[in-house]
């Protein structure tokens, strides 16, 4: 799948697939990096997601057909380059306890022990497919099939920053205090978003993440 469609008059949506797939997502990040590095006049920024790349542009500078031509060239170039080695970030995590309030109910729902849930969740290396929801929130996958959980029926109104959570085949970390409908299984003291810092975000789309069990 390879399509460029307008999203309004100031964004172009590149569709590379329509499902959550590691290979497709890697192509999204490769294309995003290529476009960000090429600094085409009129392109403001890109937003990589699971299977799409949204390109925001200035309609005073570029028309949709012009940006489409630019993007086609970049898509052809992206096919020939291989992804750069992703960054890997370790996240010390305290499972359960005060912030991982759903760990036990998750375990009983999945017919696993708490220790097994922790082991399975922390064993795998995850990829940040995309960021969104709140500033700095990473959508990561793919979760082991044994940990697939539905979202909460009633979302919580307040989830503290740093809370590690799972939903469906994904895992994430709440980046700021916000409402949340995912199952809360742990907490990290790492700060995901610090607006005062020179590098305000701990993560970037495409990074790899490894949870480290903290006792």
């Amino acid at each position: 799948m390879r399509k460029i469609v307008p999203l309004g008059d100031s964004a172009a949506l590149i569709q590379l697939g329509d499902e959550v797939d590691f290979t497709v997502n890697q192509r999204v990040h490769a294309l995003a990096n290529l476009i960000e590095a090429s600094s085409i006049h009129g392109i403001i920024e890109t937003v990589p997601a699971y299977a799409t790349l949204l390109v925001h542009y200035d309609p005073l500078i570029l028309s949709f057909s012009q940006i489409k031509n630019h993007l086609r060239v970049k898509m052809d170039q992206a096919e020939e380059i291989s992804n750069r080695e992703p960054r890997r970030i370790e996240v010390p995590t305290r499972y359960g306890g005060e912030h991982g309030v759903d760990l036990e109910s998750v375990a009983s729902h999945l017919r696993l022990s708490v220790e097994e849930v922790v082991r399975i969740h922390s064993e795998k290396i995850y990829t940040i497919y995309m960021m969104g929801f709140t500033p700095g929130f990473p959508y990561m996958g793919k979760l082991d099939d044994a940990l697939v959980m539905p979202r909460l029926e009633t979302p919580r109104t307040r989830v503290p920053a740093g809370t590690v959570a799972i939903a469906g085949s994904q895992t994430g970390i709440y980046s700021i205090e916000s409402p949340g409908g995912w199952n809360l299984i742990g907490w990290t003291s790492l700060q995901l978003f610090n607006p005062e810092s020179d590098s305000p975000f701990l993560f970037a789309p495409g990074d790899e993440v490894k949870f480290i069990v903290e006792k």
Partner: protein, 319 residues
């Protein structure tokens, strides 16, 4: 030069043309809801287009000038008075130290912009002075303005007397109405809806719900039906995008909207018309939608933006 907030009853925030470059990390653009009125206010004060101004909505506000300054006020839904005089919007005014400027909310329209010559000087957060309330960043300590806040301005481009008494003639302004026809570019998920629903959306009247805010305007009107799936895997979205969740009631994403979303988008409101929608009064304005193309939308936006530069110097002003 500076202004002090004397009384703030509504929602007044510092906004600029938006926070760009951070959407890939999940940071909304924020910035002015009515980008046309915002640009006009900066033009009238002869500020560069990215200077910060004050967005005023939902209630009255009063400022006092702590030094002589020039302010420009634009937008819809407010009466303006400076010192002892009432003045029209879409003009710039000289204010002597100690004078007050007051904006009183009317029943029509939603927000006004007050720019000060030299722009509001406040530290940037993630390259912008815009307030993002939910994220508590930008603007005045990440929050709305309150009585006692003092806003400092930068250096005006010219002597103050040359910047006052400038106006944008009515024919150069956006055409605001209580019952606007708003142009939409269809897609990317038009196919998720039944053809009858697309026809319904284009023919029926919608109102704005009272639960609307800077994040999104919820529309109330005929329910739209999905053909099948009511969700897709999340993808990037932008202001103006019309998401339709499973209840079939459309939500138009506004400036503080999340950067990504997973509901099908039947279309996107064009940039030139988003200000008209932003100025719609909940439960009152009646909105119709109409299909257009990206090329036509961009032409309309370019024409509107250049029209905002057609400022004239007035011969006389009340003071």
């Amino acid at each position: 030069m500076s202004l002090e907030v004397i009384e703030a009853n509504g929602l007044a925030t510092i906004q600029d043309s938006g926070r760009r470059g951070w959407r890939r990390f999940g940071v909304p653009v924020s910035g002015a809801m009515d980008i046309l009125a915002f640009h006009a206010a900066n033009s009238l004060a002869d500020n560069s287009s990215n200077q910060a101004a004050i967005e005023i909505g939902l209630g009255d506000i009063t400022f006092r000038a702590l030094h002589d300054c020039v302010v420009a006020v634009t937008g819809v839904g407010y009466d303006l008075s400076i010192y002892i005089w009432d003045f029209p919007l879409w003009s710039s005014y000289y204010m002597r130290a100690g004078w007050t400027v007051r904006l009183n909310k009317l029943d029509s329209g939603m927000c006004a912009y007050l720019a000060i010559a030299g722009g509001i000087q406040i530290p940037q957060v993630l390259d912008s002075r815009s307030t993002y309330l939910r994220g508590r960043i930008g603007g005045f300590n990440g929050r709305q303005l309150q009585a006692g806040d003092v806003l400092k301005s930068g250096t005006p481009s010219h002597p103050l007397t040359e910047l006052a008494a400038r106006t944008l003639p009515e024919e150069a302004r956006p055409v605001y109405t209580n019952n606007p026809v708003v142009d939409v570019i269809m897609g990317p998920q038009e196919k998720y809806f039944t053809p009858e629903s697309t026809a319904t959306f284009m023919s029926q009247e919608y109102t704005v719900s009272t639960t609307s805010d800077r994040m999104g305007y919820r529309l109330e009107g005929a329910t739209l039906k999905h053909r099948g799936k009511t969700e897709l895997i999340s993808e990037g979205m932008t202001m103006g995008a019309i998401q339709v969740p499973s209840n079939g009631q459309p939500i138009v994403m506004m400036v503080d909207s999340p950067t990504t979303g997973g509901y099908p988008k039947i279309g996107t409101v064009i940039r030139a018309d988003l200000p008209l929608l932003a100025q719609c009064v909940p439960n009152k304005s009646k909105i119709h939608f109409r299909k257009t193309t990206a090329a036509k939308a961009q032409k309309k936006y370019r024409e509107l933006m250049s029209s905002l530069e057609r400022i004239v110097e007035e011969e006389e002003q009340g003071n």
